[in-house]
């Protein structure tokens, strides 16, 4: 799967890479191996470009087909199983299901390939709590300490040193502090309105003119109108929207920005996290649903056939009563006949890299946290995969490095993402880490990079109340959608909610509701 490449002097003299490579091979003084992983863009682009696909070899009649094996699809399947419905298949493009909860593993540790944590679900989040209870994370109302993120959770490198927590603490003027206080107070009021909930659907009944108006402007604009201009606060808001939505506060709906800060009321210090990130949950769901999952099954066409549906893969034509479309929403217009209207919400391009370290960089006076963020960096920093180990800090580790390409419009950043080769991206990653770890090049042995062109929905202004989003989010007919895209919020809980809602609708259709 991984296209392996090692940087060598030979590669350099062969003139394979840009001048950036010179920096890497000279400064490094050692080989750093690695490559790109999960490069499925080409398969996806075949659909976009209307390439010819082989006709299915056989037909299978099955009441329900779930298209897509991310958390939306897995949650739909989870709910069908729970309710005694076993007559369905789950079709996944990749060899293994998981979607944005996918994970990898090497001799050092398991590690996430995208989503890496679940905020501790609050009292109202009944579905997430139900799943957590089944997985043994929540027992008699107490969260299992084993998988709550161990101390120290987060640190931020600011003004030349590490501080605890990501909210900037050092270098703030009295006015900055006052603005943080005011920001929090405003979020408290908005939280109390009940309009910002998880799942977000629960909050739509509580909208008023003021909260609706938030979707008309960007989060950055909202902050300016509120008189919140502290550069530290602005960085913090920007970090939050880049982290959760893959876009800067200028490109994110103020409604979504507020949702980030006003939606959660956790009942314990979290988040929940695991070496393989949300892969920990995904692998348990996959194990339970294994008989239904068809890996490597690329759906290239979905069309009605009388009152039934035909779902085409190159192996099998599935003849079904109902379809749960749990793939990213932008794919619907390419796959489904009749073609639904174009999906209105943009997608953020991301880069996720897993760095395998032979030893830790030197630290003065700070302990590595789970999440390590650098103030002023365009990246989101790194998460330590071995953080939840119970023993002492192991000698070797894996860091998952996150970078939402949020410096420009998504389409432009997508071509940057796909334009850079492995050596160029590795160099940029190491350069960024060198701000805080001067000796990082001597520590890293391997860099594996995952490029996600359409990593997540990026809730631009106007997304939340867009009629097409609202239409698709409401289950109707025998083809239902199930994906966090429907909420325009790339959250585990949203994907789960949409999956379960779709499954409930399908159960009603089949007369089992």
């Amino acid at each position: 799967m991984a296209r392996d490449r090692a940087l060598t002097r030979r590669a350099f003299t062969a003139g394979l890479a840009a001048p950036a490579l010179i920096g890497l091979s000279c400064k490094a003084g050692r080989r750093i191996a690695g490559g790109f992983v999960f490069e499925s863009q080409e398969r996806g682009h075949r659909i976009r470009d209307h390439a010819r696909f082989a006709a299915p070899k056989r037909t299978e009649r099955v009441p329900v087909a779930i298209v897509g094996g991310g958390i939306g699809g897995l949650s739909a399947a989870w709910w069908l199983e729970k309710r005694g419905c076993h007559d369905f298949v789950l079709l996944e493009l990749e060899d293994r299901a998981g979607g944005n909860a996918r994970w990898g593993e090497n001799e050092v540790s398991a590690y996430p390939w995208a989503a890496h944590y679940l905020p501790v679900p609050g009292k109202r989040e009944t579905l997430a709590r139900e799943l957590c209870t089944e997985l043994g994370l929540l027992k008699d109302g107490v969260w299992d300490e084993r998988w709550l993120c161990h101390s120290p959770q987060e640190r931020l490198f600011i003004n030349g040193r590490w501080q605890e927590g990501i909210e900037p603490q050092s270098g703030l003027t009295r006015d900055d502090v006052e603005q943080f206080r005011r920001f929090e107070a405003r979020m408290g009021e908005l939280r109390a309105s009940g309009a910002f909930r998880i799942p977000s659907e629960d909050g739509y009944a509580h909208q008023n003119a003021a909260t609706r108006a938030l979707d008309g402007i960007s989060f950055a604009e909202w902050m300016r109108r509120e008189g919140l201009y502290s550069p530290y606060l602005r960085w913090y808001a920007d970090y939050a929207t880049r982290d959760d939505y893959g876009a800067s506060a200028e490109r994110v709906s103020a409604w979504a920005g507020v949702h980030y800060f006003a939606s959660r009321e956790p009942d314990d210090k979290g988040p929940l996290c695991w070496p393989e990130g949300n892969g920990w949950i995904a692998r348990r769901l996959i194990a339970r649903l294994a008989p239904h999952i068809r890996g490597g099954a690329m759906v290239y066409h979905i069309r009605p056939n009388g009152r039934r549906w035909q779902v085409f893969t190159e192996e099998v034509l599935y003849d079904t009563e109902a379809v749960v479309f749990a793939a990213p929403m932008f794919l619907a217009s390419w796959l489904i006949e009749p073609q639904p209207p174009a999906w209105p919400i943009p997608y953020a391009p991301w880069l996720v890299a897993n760095l395998t370290l032979d030893h830790w960089p030197a630290e003065d006076d700070s302990e590595p946290a789970w999440d390590n963020v650098v103030y002023g960096s365009p990246t989101l920093g790194y998460v330590v995969a071995t953080h939840q180990n119970l023993g002492r800090r192991p000698e070797r580790t894996v860091w998952t490095f996150y970078w939402a390409l949020a410096e420009g419009a998504p389409a432009a950043m997508r071509s940057v993402l796909l334009g850079g080769d492995w050596a160029w991206w590795s160099e940029r990653i190491l350069n960024d880490l060198e701000r805080v770890h001067a000796d990082i090049r001597a520590c890293v042995r391997r860099i594996d990079i995952h490029r996600l062109g359409h990593a997540m929905p990026s809730p631009a202004p106007g997304s939340m109340f867009h009629p097409e989003r609202v239409r698709r989010a409401r289950p109707e007919g025998t083809l239902v959608y199930a994906h966090s895209d429907l909420s325009a919020l790339p959250l585990f809980e949203e994907a789960q909610y949409r999956g379960v809602t779709a499954a409930q609708h399908v159960l009603r259709l089949l007369g089992r509701g």
Partner: protein, 498 residues
């Protein structure tokens, strides 16, 4: 020329005596029992000198060259003797053997010096005069050395550099002799090279020795460092001041040999003496074997499993003569099983059951150590303890880190343990805290093992009384996702240090 040669006698006599004094001082310093050390070292040194004098009869030709060669050898062996012995003491158990081997070697070489010199001078003096002069200068040199050693060498140079300085003196005598007899000597080039090499080596040693003694350790500890080892897990340092040996791990004091019995008696007996039927015990941390020493006072105990992270730590306390003396060789007892593993994952992977467990980890001064004081850890430990069993946790000072101490108590309670907090006064540490915990009612032991120095039936109940300045305070339990203890601990100790 005559006077020059007699001054050589004086110098080599002084050097010979200094090496002997250094060996004796170093041995009594490191091993204690100075009468025994000095007596055996002087005895074997003199005996070896006798062997040297006897061997001198087999040297017939080129006496001056031989004398120069012997001077250089004495200079090198004697000069580096103390550095070699210090190094040997800190890295292996073969210290005694090396000590006497070096003393014998030096004795033989020094024993050769005077007979050779007398034969070299025989042609130039009358026998009566020769014997009189040589012995006079010999004894004068001895007097000088014995005065200069305690007054100047030890306080100013220290044992390592003192030896090197006298080694250099030997080498200079060789150089001088070479010059005096320059017309009689063949092979002058080889001799000059050897001489230059020895002087350079000793000179370098003297300069570098300064740096060695100025290392971080020496400046960190008030007392002299007698053993230092860096392992993948920690820095182990043993210091000495008079008869007080102290163990430091990562520069945190672990015990002082003068009062550690108070700590370890208090750690083990209140719990273990109350468990009549205890058969299997567990020690987590405690690689020094001192808690195990106390536990071996219970003949009914069938096995003691010691889980300590650092194999070098347990090996050191199993083999080093000084340290096995401190722990009464407890780690070599047949009932004791040493497991070198990380305690938390070890408890998770293994399913052994124990009647009694001693939890003796370093203080929670970072998050990594703090994990070993969490509700998660104590819950896991509970699965390894028999229903009527007990555990005892070393819990930092209720006096200096009061909230940290009561945080540990609260954490144990949250993890479902019943707790009986207590404390003891250990001069090296001050008031020190422990928490006894079990799942059923605990009763004060009815008797204690014989031979305890600190605890008796009268002092025991008093340990469970807390003066108002150490009494319970509110604290959040220490959990993996919110290590309150590490924060309390840092705040409280910082308040004391600054």
């Amino acid at each position: 020329m005559a006077i020059a040669l007699f001054i050589s006698v004086l110098l080599i006599a002084a050097c010979g005596l200094v090496y002997e004094l250094i060996a004796g001082a170093l041995a009594s310093y490191l091993l204690g029992d100075s009468v025994f050390q000095f007596s055996t070292i002087i005895g074997s040194y003199l005996f070896a000198m006798g062997i040297g004098s006897w061997l001198s009869r087999f040297l017939d030709r080129a006496l001056v060259s031989r004398f120069i060669a012997i001077e250089l050898m004495v200079g090198l062996v004697g000069g580096f003797s103390s550095a070699i012995l210090f190094f040997a003491f800190s890295v292996s158990g073969g210290f005694r053997f090396l000590l006497y081997a070096l003393v014998m070697l030096l004795g033989v070489l020094v024993g050769l010096e005077i007979p050779l010199l007398m034969r070299i001078l025989r042609a130039r003096f009358e026998f009566k005069e020769l014997v009189s002069n040589v012995l006079t200068f010999d004894y004068l040199g001895a007097l000088g050395a014995s005065l200069i050693f305690p007054i100047f060498v030890v306080p100013r140079l220290g044992l390592v550099r003192g030896a090197l300085a006298f080694g250099l003196l030997n080498a200079l005598v060789a150089l001088w002799t070479m010059w005096l007899f320059r017309e009689e000597l063949a092979q002058r080039l080889a001799q000059r090279l050897a001489c230059g090499g020895a002087i350079a080596l000793l000179g370098l040693g003297l300069v570098y020795g300064q740096k060695l003694t100025d290392t971080l350790d020496a400046s960190l500890y008030a007392d002299e460092v007698i053993l230092a080892r860096t392992t993948p897990y920690q820095r182990i340092v043993v210091t000495k001041w008079k008869d007080d040996y102290r163990l430091h791990l990562n520069s945190h004091l672990q015990f002082s040999s003068r009062d550690e019995y108070r700590y370890h008696e208090a750690l083990v007996h209140p719990g273990l003496a109350s468990l009549a039927g205890a058969k299997h015990a567990l020690v987590l941390g405690g690689g020094d074997g001192l808690a195990v020493r106390e536990m071996l006072k219970y003949p009914a105990l069938e096995s003691i499993a010691l889980v300590d992270l650092d194999p070098e730590m347990t090996t050191l306390f199993r083999t080093h003569p000084l340290l096995t003396k401190l722990n009464a060789n407890s780690l070599n007892a047949p009932r004791v099983h040493i497991i070198n593993a990380d305690a938390f994952p070890w408890l998770e992977k293994n399913d052994g059951m124990f009647d009694f467990a001693v939890v003796d980890f370093p203080d929670p001064n970072n998050y990594s150590l703090g994990k070993l004081y969490t509700t998660a850890f104590y819950r896991l430990l509970k699965q390894h303890i028999a229903a009527r069993g007990l555990i005892v946790v070393q819990s930092t000072s209720p006096m200096f880190a009061r909230q940290s101490y009561w945080c540990i108590v609260e954490t144990l309670k949250q993890a479902g343990w019943r707790t009986w907090p207590y404390h003891a006064y250990v001069p090296a540490f001050g008031e020190w805290g422990f928490v006894l915990a079990g799942q059923e009612q605990w009763r004060m032991p009815e008797r204690l093992p014989a031979g305890l120095r600190y605890l008796d039936m009268k002092t025991l109940p008093a340990l469970f009384d807390f003066a108002p300045d150490m009494g319970p305070v509110a604290a959040e339990p220490n959990r993996l996702n919110d290590q309150s203890l590490v924060r309390y601990y840092e705040q409280e100790w910082r308040a004391i240090v600054h």
